[in-house]
């Protein structure tokens, strides 16, 4: 647990970067600091490992005041991932990752073994061990950055806009990887970003800062979307927050309707649309009413798939809206077709969940699925 109590940072030129911050970062969860530039999010992060010293108030990590500890020693116990990775250009990937263990006095062999293990953890091929950072892509460098931060197995990980310098597709992969890693490691992570979508995707809790170093709202992302504290948060959270909020609502109890399915070589449907499936009942695409038999070239690509076991209302609605037939395809965890879902079913489900707890999203902290709209038919 990391606790900020009345923390203020005033720079020598009089700028107040952080103003009387009270905030508790939960252990084992991802807490995201988000806000426009100059809102004090990075300063707040950097005060945790004393890269910046607070001018007032106290910060404690696991109950211990950070100011009571030697700065360098404190930092060795806290992982740090910096934007653009900040790797040592003169050291190989393996030695970059082994940095903190070596600082802690491990012998070289142990440190390198640990580094090799971490390359595997973050998905780097072993042959990269002997390369230098300049030979890696931005995304690969950032994986090294994450591995380096994890090397000494610190309980706390600070991530300072780590994915801001990579392209959107790589960023999304890195975000998914981080969530997967966090599922295994359960670190206390503080993550800084200016990207609200990234904050909502990654955060168990999100702290929205406003210019002048004030905390505007600190809540679970679902709550941020459904009940922004004020106009600033509302406008910062941005467009479509109602729709995005559906990502935090479970689709449990959503009725799954019938869906006509055919196989390649079957007779064409005589009426409306039919879903074409393979021998395992996995969707291949749609065919419209016609004559003769179903052949491969007649397939119309489908929309996103809705995983009925783990999906959110957003995934269900997107499946319905993106399907050529107007009916979304519901599948089980193995991708086998269960039935169909309509947009009106989703809206009814939304109304039901409103009635049930009066506050949609209040019970669900993180997106129900990370892959909504990722799998496509055909």
């Amino acid at each position: 647990m990391i606790e900020f109590r009345g923390v203020t940072k005033r720079f020598p030129d009089g700028t107040v970067a952080v103003d009387d911050l009270d905030l508790v970062v939960d252990s084992g969860r991802i807490t995201v600091f988000v806000g426009p530039s100059g809102c004090g999010k990075t300063t707040s992060l950097r005060m945790i490992n004393r890269m910046i010293e607070p001018s007032g108030g106290t910060i404690s990590v696991e109950g211990k005041d950070i100011m009571s500890r030697d700065a360098a020693e404190l930092r060795r116990g806290i992982g740090y991932v910096i934007q653009q990775a900040g790797l040592f250009p003169h050291r190989t990937i393996l030695d970059n990752i082994a940095t903190v263990p070596l600082l802690l006095g491990w012998n070289k062999k142990q440190a390198r073994e640990r580094a090799a293990e971490l390359m595997d953890t973050v998905g780097l091929a072993p042959e990269m061990a002997k390369r230098y950072p300049a030979q890696l892509s931005g995304g690969q460098q950032q994986r090294v950055g994450v591995a380096r931060a994890l090397a000494a197995d610190p309980p706390v990980l600070l991530m300072d806009e780590p994915f801001s310098a990579v392209d959107p597709i790589v960023r999304e992969t890195l975000q998914d990887e981080l969530l997967r890693l966090q599922g295994e490691l359960g670190k206390t992570i503080v993550f800084v970003t200016h990207d609200i979508d990234e904050a909502i995707k990654l955060g168990d809790k999100v702290a929205v800062f406003r210019t002048g170093g004030k905390l505007a709202q600190y809540d679970e992302p679902g709550v941020l979307l459904s009940r922004p504290a004020d106009d600033f948060v509302d406008s910062f959270v941005g467009r479509d927050r109602g729709y995005r909020g559906l990502g935090f609502l479970s689709s449990d109890g959503l009725p799954i309707g019938d869906l006509p399915v055919v196989a390649i070589g079957d007779r064409m449907p005589t009426d409306g649309w039919a879903l074409v499936v393979d021998g395992e009942r996995r969707p291949l695409g749609w065919v419209a009413r016609g004559t003769g038999t179903v052949y491969e070239d007649a397939l119309v690509p489908g929309g996103s798939l809705y995983d009925a076991g783990a999906g959110s209302l957003r995934a269900a609605l997107d499946a319905a809206l993106s399907s050529p037939s107007g009916r979304g395809v519901a599948v089980d965890g193995d991708g086998r077709v269960l039935g169909s879902i309509g947009a009106d079913d989703v809206l009814r489900g939304l109304a039901d969940s409103r009635e049930a707890d009066g506050a949609p999203g209040a019970d669900v902290g993180r997106p129900v699925t990370d892959t909504d709209a990722a799998d496509r038919v055909g």
Binding site: N49, M51, A72, E73, L74, R75, R76, G77, Y80, I82, Q83, Q84, A85, G86, L87, F88, P89, H90, R91, T99, V100, L103, R131, Y132, A134, Q135, G145, R148, L158
Partner: protein, 220 residues
């Protein structure tokens, strides 16, 4: 040519002197310039003072330095220490700015990352900032070494000029071959030392070559 062959052992001893007089100061100068450059790079206002003071040293005419140093150091006018000290001063003058610039060019994100991982400032300097600065510093050392090799010859005025003595001696005794051989040897020595430093630099910084190869591949 005959003159050269007849005096080969004389030339060899001058060459040895020349190497010692020119390169020992480069090493001493570098050892002094690194902490001064570090200091200059750390102190915002001090930087200009240190770098400019160091630069000013280079404007002192070498002959004047050779003559004045015995007075300042209390050494004999014909002490070879004078040459060593004078050339060390010039090396410092050249390298302080180079070291300060090289350290300044280390990416701030790398320095921040090192700090955040728990390097103490000294350890960070030795393990990260200095090695990353090697390519730039080495370029400065090559200039300093060549300049030092050429400046040693001026020392012949006070009797410790290494190969430079072949100029004075050759002029006084009208032996053209001696003068020409001296010039050729100084040039060759400068080229060899420069080449060796380049080679050492490559061996010290395998990462720099790969980085440049990647950069070129990207622009090609």
């Amino acid at each position: 040519m005959n003159w050269v062959l007849e005096n080969i052992s004389f030339i060899a001893s001058l060459l040895t002197d020349h190497i010692v007089f020119s390169l020992v100061p480069v090493v001493i100068g570098l050892v002094i310039a690194v902490p001064l450059g570090w200091l200059a790079n750390r102190a915002g206002f001090g930087r200009a003072v240190v770098v400019n003071l160091a630069g000013l040293l280079y404007t002192i005419p070498s002959l004047a330095l050779f003559v004045f140093l015995p007075v300042i150091l209390g050494t004999g006018i014909l002490d070879p220490i004078n040459v060593i000290v004078a050339l060390s001063v010039y090396t410092v003058a050249l390298l302080v700015r180079t070291v300060a610039d090289a350290l300044e060019a280390v990416p701030p994100l790398v320095v921040d990352a090192a700090t955040a991982m728990g390097f103490t400032p000294f350890r960070r300097f030795v393990a990260a900032e200095l090695p990353i600065s090697v390519p730039v510093i080495l370029a400065g050392v090559r200039v300093a070494a060549v300049s030092s090799i050429s400046l040693v010859t001026v020392g012949s005025v006070i009797g410790f000029g290494g190969l430079g003595q072949m100029f004075t001696d050759g002029f006084q005794r009208s032996i053209t071959a001696e003068v020409v051989a001296g010039i050729v040897l100084v040039v060759v020595l400068a080229l060899v030392v420069d080449g060796l430093l380049l080679l050492i630099g490559r061996m010290l910084t395998p990462w720099d070559r790969t980085a440049r190869a990647v950069a070129q591949g990207a622009t090609a």
